[in-house]
Amino acid sequence: MDEQRLTQPLTQHLNIDAPLTLSQYQQQNGYGGFAAALQLGPEQVLATIKASNLRGRGGAGFPTGMKWSFVPPVGKGLQERYLIANADEMEPGAFKDRWLLEGNPHQLIEGMLIAAFTLSATTGYIFLRNEYSLASARLQRSIEECYAKGLLGDNILGSELCFNLHIHTSAGRYICGEETALINALEGKRAIPRAKPPFPQVAGLWGSPTIVNNVEPFYNLPNILLFGADWYRSLGAAEDAGTKIYGVSGRVQNPGLWELPMGTTLREIIEQHAGGMQRGYQLRAYLPGGGSTDFLLPEHLDTAMDYNAISAVGSRLGTGTIIVLDDRSCPVDAILNLISFFAQESCGWCTPCREGLPNASYLLAKIESGRGEVKDLQYLKDLLELVSFGNTFCALAPGAAEPLQSGLAFFAEDFMAHIEQQCCPYQHH
């Protein structure tokens, strides 16, 4: 396919029922981006990635090229360098990485090879969620194919690159998505975040320079190398570059995932691609980027789904997978679901998160079950203060606070109705 017509570079070869084998992928110019990278050399590849404006897709949106440039030059410090694909998809409402991994595992490996070549990484790990067994089997088969054809191992394609790739199957815990906690898990320890600095790019896995990227950025790399930074930037609909996997779940007509230009509006995603609400349901609110993002309302539907535009209206792009809240579901119960999850998944390392989230969960359960008091709302607001950025060791608890703080503001009447009626007004039975 020529670059003019290539509008879905992440999913063009995706096939959930029968993902491409190595030879089929190569027939479609697979590993062509890696070959282009070998031609360009590491410095030019890094310059291209920087120029492409590719940003992280796991929530924080950090520019990928800049992240890579913090790795110290070869020859300084430890020789071993690690590359990690964070495939521990556990954000509530996120289901995009599963789709990519099951549908075309070779594109992840190609992206990792490009990164490994650029960063002189020697060993790579795919940190995979335990429950993704189909993705695991397909990745394993693809890795074996690559070893058999000289695309992994020593002197790849006759170059000086030596890169071994392994799957690490996680055993649960949302905190593993935090990159320093993930590194501890890979070292065979409890997944507790580390203090930064030093940043993993300088001292990560076993003290060596380490790059952790989400799955989606790796899928972007091959075509950036094939068609260039200008082409990639031109794919975006608004300010940001490239395409994005967007998803919608909840009571919509057609829940699913779509690769669309970065910056597609929420309205287009929810009303056109997801087909709008199911018959008999109204759109009440939605979480634009998974469980740890602030609620947005129908009045925000014309906002572009990119990093800055979503921030400007008070939420975050996050994972880009939208959870829709309908008018017949209780918003207090929805927030209780999220906060209970985050309380359960707290690693227990820092006090505000370990104590604050279970307390918030207790108060929400109390209100939802009809035992709430007006003063509980103030307690919840105090807890939000306790778990805010600067008070906690990592971003888990501040993320958990986002749907709660916006929920308290947007659904104030619902909270009061629970307290005044001493029951959940949404329970009809």
């Binding site: 996120a94 829940p255 959870i323 119960d333 929805a334 999850f341």
Partner: protein, 189 residues
Amino acid sequence: MEYQPKIIAREPSHHEIGAAALAEIDQLLSHYPQPQGAAIDALTVVQKYRGWVSDHALKQLAEHMSMPVADLESVATFYNLIFRREVGKTLLHPCNGLSCQLLGYKSIQRQLRKEINIDEGETSANGSMTLISLPCLGACDKAPVMLLRESTATINAAGKAVIRDKLLTHITTTELSAMLDDFQEFIHG
């Protein structure tokens, strides 16, 4: 009320880690520059052959990996998918993520508890099923979903020990019983 000590069944002394499991663990050890790196993978392998990780197996594994038992135990108890208690033959993992809750997780969980007569975290009296809800399983467009898993591995056609599982999607309470029966057939049939 008088204090009633909880009686915990003794572990069978034959709960050794077998040769096949050890071979798999040694293979995984080669993926990491330090043996401890393979700790989580190794615990998963032990569990794959036995369904859970007993005290005896934990000690044996720690020795095999040159790790202090306490370090390995701290890892084993941190990760929620490593079981330090015996579980049933089939693990029922309904997804309790928000998208699944909005589409009926609670009634599914209620029905499971009623039909199998167990609560969250418990194993049925005949040892066939354990109910453990899991956070968002990453299949939100097919909500509500449930992951059914064998707790111990089956040897597949290629001679490899694999845990068979099945993701049930778009579950309705009316079809739930039939879905469970189907899985039992899939496992034992």
